[in-house]
């Protein structure tokens, strides 16, 4: 039976949590305002009613305690899906994530897995207050022992979250807030590419635009705008920031010879640096132009009135693609 229903990312994530709680009675969902309220974005709406307060529960405002408790719960055989309410509020938990969540399997010589998912509404573009629009991915990607993923569409959000919860390794799950509400039609399915696999969301041969999360839609708009001018851009959604799908990056670089990488995070040591380095290492002889980076500026995330002057615009992406193609 085909489910042709329209899904928002919030709805898809909610369904993924629901289905994971249903399929595995060791899964717990907890965090700030996730139970009674259903989360400030309603991602956890209805889970308390469906699964009860033993498995879905509110906690004090205590990010380090939430993640630290998830570590202890893993020793007791539980799989925690915890929510950090916003990107910048995940920082109090960094010590627990870096010192313990990421390292515990290695520190216990493989005896204790950390099947923990840390959900973080991330990135900007929603006219949020300060500390509500940040791109923390590099901190997590640079921490060995973690996996880091971010979906760009509702159907993929469902699939990635199911994979993340099923994964025996800890996963940082970054949810692009600006993509929470747009709808996508189709069937929510676990099957399909998991963690570590990127996908081509638009085919093309003139250049490859690499993005993830919130920026994928903008890159598709840029590709559509480039098409009338004869530039047939391919768009890659990385999905998995760690591990990175380097085979896909290599193939696209070899096939198109020109690469643009786009993200909201500041330029310096952003994902673009890693993508550019990998492309250089793996496909240098096939490159017809230097890799271009279109990113946020190297400044703290600005107020709502200026955020569109900070975020990579469709125009900046189009311009970068034209430059690499005409190089």
């Amino acid at each position: 039976m085909t489910d042709a229903a329209q899904h928002t990312m919030v709805g898809a994530l909610n369904q993924a949590l629901h289905d994971a709680l249903r399929d595995d009675d060791r899964v717990l969902v907890f965090g700030e305002d996730v139970a009674c309220l259903g989360g400030v974005f309603r991602v956890t709406d209805g889970l308390l009613d469906g699964f009860g307060g033993d498995r879905v529960f509110d906690t004090p405002i205590s990010e380090a305690g939430i993640v630290g408790a998830a570590v202890g719960l893993a020793f007791a055989g539980w799989k925690s899906v915890v929510e950090m309410q916003f990107d910048a509020f995940s920082y109090p938990a960094l010590e627990q994530i870096i010192d313990h969540v990421a390292k515990m399997r290695m520190r216990t010589r493989g005896r204790v897995d950390m099947p923990i998912v840390v959900r973080i509404p991330a990135f900007g573009g929603i006219r949020g207050k300060e500390h509500h629009g940040e791109s923390p991915e590099t901190y997590y990607v640079h921490t060995a022992g973690l996996k880091v993923v971010t979906p760009s569409s509702p159907l993929d959000a469902y699939r990635l979250l199911r994979h993340a919860i099923a994964d025996p390794d800890p996963v940082i799950f970054l949810e692009p807030k600006s993509r929470y509400w747009p709808k996508e039609a189709g069937e929510l399915a676990f099957d399909g590419p998991g963690i570590g696999v990127g996908r081509v969301v638009r085919d093309g041969g003139a250049c490859t635009i690499v993005a993830y999360g919130s920026m994928v839609t903008r890159c598709l708009e840029a590709a559509a705008r480039l098409e009338p001018g004869g530039i047939d851009a391919r768009v890659v959604d990385l999905r998995s920031l760690s591990p990175l799908d380097v085979e896909l990056l290599e193939r696209c670089a070899v096939e198109t010879g020109r690469v643009v990488v786009v993200h909201e995070a500041p330029l310096t040591l952003g994902m673009g640096a890693e993508v550019a380095a990998r492309v250089m290492e793996l496909a240098f002889d096939h490159l017809a132009a230097p890799v271009a980076r279109v990113t946020g500026w190297d400044v703290p995330y600005p107020p709502a009135a200026l955020e569109q002057r900070y975020l990579p615009s469709v125009e900046r992406i189009v311009e970068a693609a034209r430059e690499v193609v005409s190089y």
Binding site: L73, F75, Q96, T108, R109, K147, E247
Partner: protein
């Protein structure tokens, strides 16, 4: 100076006076055999601690944090736990570890630089990985306690920390979470007077045990050099947690006779006269005096424990120094349950 300054304030719970004279009910629930075992553990632990310092001086360990003076605090509390209870230690709980059945050689892999965290099996021994990030393990203890309670187990989690750790945010977060969830947890603070170079009075202006009231849980101040008092306070807290009545904060007043670690020079910040004062309150001397005066052990008995301790320390040394370097594969074997393809390439490059 009549006693270390951080022992001032509220009089701690005590069973034996400093000279071993009973000042409370000595029937804390330990049989004579168990009492003799407690004394034996204390003698073994002190001998092992001295051996570890020697091993470090000889280059067989990297840096070693000694625990001389804290034997009663660690052994009294560890003996109060049941088989299913789980310990979440800092990096200074070797005495508690051996009581809990952790292989000291595997434990010392940590200080030998052989492996991080829990070289021993933390699930099988119910002794969590050695934890250096200060107070973070308390959050694990609370999560574990919440988790086993969900499974209907009556197991209890006991987290050790020092006085310095009570200044950390994770101490607060763990205490608060434990209290709100009525987690079956015991937070056991060994207040040994020093956090590296900083005395307790520079960590906190109050008494640590009193913070319990703010969290809505019981707090206890106990003489941490009185093994009977430590045992009783811990056993009471464990029983309370097991009944479902939630966590307890225990402050055990003890003293760090040695430096913070073999890499530290306490002479730079601590008056040696203070250490000489603290030595007058030695936990082993006190317990042995009572055991002896009450007819539970004689000189031959003590001598046999000292012989055991000598053999124990020598066996640990012999096994430890025979250990070679770990294989380089270990760097890659356990980083991920499902390693990324990119890491497999690095593994091949590293291992040739």
């Amino acid at each position: 100076m009549e006693a270390p300054e951080h022992w001032a304030g509220t009089e701690p719970e005590r069973v034996l006076a400093h000279d071993g004279t009973p000042v409370g009910d000595t029937d804390v629930g330990l049989s004579d055999d168990q009492l003799r075992a407690a004394l034996r553990w204390m003698i073994l632990a002190r001998r092992l601690d001295a051996e570890c310092i020697a091993l470090q001086r000889q280059g067989e360990l990297t840096v070693y944090p000694g625990f001389e003076g804290q034997e009663a605090a660690q052994i009294g509390s560890a003996l109060a736990l049941g088989a299913d209870d789980f310990v979440w230690p800092t990096f200074r709980e070797l005495a508690a570890a051996i009581v809990r059945g952790v292989d000291p050689v595997q434990y010392l892999w940590y200080h030998r630089g052989t492996w991080h965290g829990g070289p021993y099996d933390p699930r099988a021994t119910r002794f969590g990985p050695i934890c250096i990030p200060v107070a973070t393990q308390l959050c694990h203890a609370v999560g574990y306690a919440i988790g086993v309670a969900k499974d209907g187990s009556d197991a209890v989690a006991l987290g050790y920390i020092g006085d310095g750790a009570t200044s950390e945010g994770d101490f607060h977060e763990a205490m608060n979470l434990a209290a709100v969830f009525r987690a079956p947890a015991v937070v056991f603070v060994q207040n040994n007077g020093w956090a590296i170079s900083v005395p307790t009075r520079r960590q906190t202006a109050g008494e640590i045990w009193k913070r319990a009231e703010g969290y809505g849980v019981p707090g206890v101040r106990v003489d941490g050099n009185d093994v009977l008092a430590v045992y009783r306070a811990t056993a009471d807290a464990v029983a309370r947690a097991r009944r479902g009545d939630g966590p307890t904060l225990i402050e055990a007043l003890t003293y760090r006779i040695g430096a913070h670690s073999t890499a530290d020079d306490a002479g730079r910040y601590r008056d040696p006269a203070e250490v000489e004062v603290a030595r007058r309150f030695d936990p082993i001397v006190r317990f042995r005096a009572w055991m002896s005066a009450s007819g539970r052990i004689d000189e031959d008995g003590v001598a046999s424990f000292e012989d055991d301790a000598e053999r124990f320390a020598n066996d640990v040394r012999a096994s430890l120094v025979a250990e070679g370097s770990p294989p380089a594969e270990w760097m890659f074997d356990w980083a991920y349950a499902e390693p990324p393809a990119t890491l497999d390439r690095q593994r091949r490059e590293a291992l040739g």
